[in-house]
């Protein structure tokens, strides 16, 4: 059986079709999941893509947490199945309590939109795939609130359980410990500020995003 990936659409999401296109490039079928439907349509993995869910009203991700689809994502995650949040999707997953910490406004109050170099810090999670610790990836970021922060105890736990997934080589936004991506303790839920779906062709400057998405897909046991 082939792996099917669900891509969640909130009002204001704007990376769902880029994500679907990127998955198509690696031969993976995806379905769009409307936030108002309390179903994941039997998918094997879930991606919460970038954008401005519910207009980022109150805080990025604060309203999205209440969408009917989120209960199903909580259940899917609790079963140990893979969930990836990209950019606004990462913010949604932290607000939903699926990932530790929070994303605050960038240091310097700058919206940053540029390719950044990332170092793989851990591969013991749902999209490790073919990557190795220390590998360098070039993937674009595009955000205003990507400055990762958590309290000291949480940071110690992240280190202890190898939950820092990616670090910026040259910190663009003030993130604590240069963190660009983290996982939950079990490793099946990952959130990242960079956009792997925008690094899928040499015409765009990099294909490194395909390795990230491919890793997610490899880890999803296809439904029988």
């Amino acid at each position: 059986m082939n792996v099917r990936v669900g891509v969640v659409q909130f009002p204001g999401t704007n990376c769902e079709f880029d994500t679907a296109d990127a998955l198509r490039l690696i031969g993976v079928e995806s379905v769009q999941l409307w936030h108002g439907e309390a179903t994941l349509s039997g998918v094997d993995a879930v991606i919460v893509p970038g954008g401005f869910a519910h207009g980022d009203y109150l805080r990025p991700g604060a309203i999205a947490r209440f969408s009917p689809v989120m209960g199903e994502i909580q259940r899917h995650a609790a079963e140990g199945r893979p969930v990836l949040g990209i950019c606004n999707g990462f913010q949604v997953l932290t607000e939903a309590g699926l990932l530790p910490g929070a994303l605050q406004k960038n240091a310097g109050l700058k919206f940053v939109c540029q390719p950044v170099e990332l170092e793989v810090a851990s591969v013991g999670h749902s999209f490790g795939g073919s990557m190795a610790v220390g590998d360098r990836l070039m993937i674009p970021i595009n955000h205003f609130e990507g400055n990762y922060v958590c309290d000291e105890r949480t940071l110690a736990e992240l280190h202890e359980h190898d939950q820092v997934v990616l670090r910026y080589v040259d910190n663009p936004n003030g993130s604590l410990d240069n963190i660009a991506a983290v996982s939950n303790k079990a490793g099946n839920v990952v959130g990242m500020m960079p956009h792997p779906e925008r690094a899928t062709s040499l015409l765009l400057g990099s294909v490194d995003g395909l390795a990230v998405l491919g890793g997610l897909v490899d880890s999803a046991p296809a439904s029988v």
Binding site: A102, Q104, K105, A107, L109, V149, D151
Partner: protein
């Protein structure tokens, strides 16, 4: 009875506030050289029905913990006062909710 609520959300101590810092750096351009400690947050106003001010504060504090603020990065200052009709009978009270 009805209570008027003001929730002031601000970045927690130790959390950077680039918006406040930018405003602070800009004020001297207008000749305001003596300003420091600018913090920018948001204000949320609404009314609730509750039997007394303590019950109203407790309800709002719960809202702050679970929705109105992200306790990882934000603090809330809650002010509850009797809605204008009963304003003369109950004094305003303020509690600090630290997430």
């Amino acid at each position: 009875m009805k209570w008027s609520v003001l929730v002031e959300v601000s970045p927690r101590a130790g959390i950077s506030d680039p918006e406040g810092a930018t405003v602070e750096r800009s004020l001297p351009a207008l000749g305001f050289e003596s300003v420091s400690g600018v913090r920018i947050g948001k204000a949320i106003r609404f009314e609730v029905d509750a039997p007394d001010a303590t019950a109203a504060e407790s309800m709002v504090s719960d809202m702050c913990d679970r929705f109105l603020t992200n306790p990882v990065i934000e603090d809330a200052r809650i002010t509850v006062e009797a809605s204008t009709v009963e304003a003369s009978t109950v004094e305003a009270s303020t509690v600090e909710a630290v997430g």
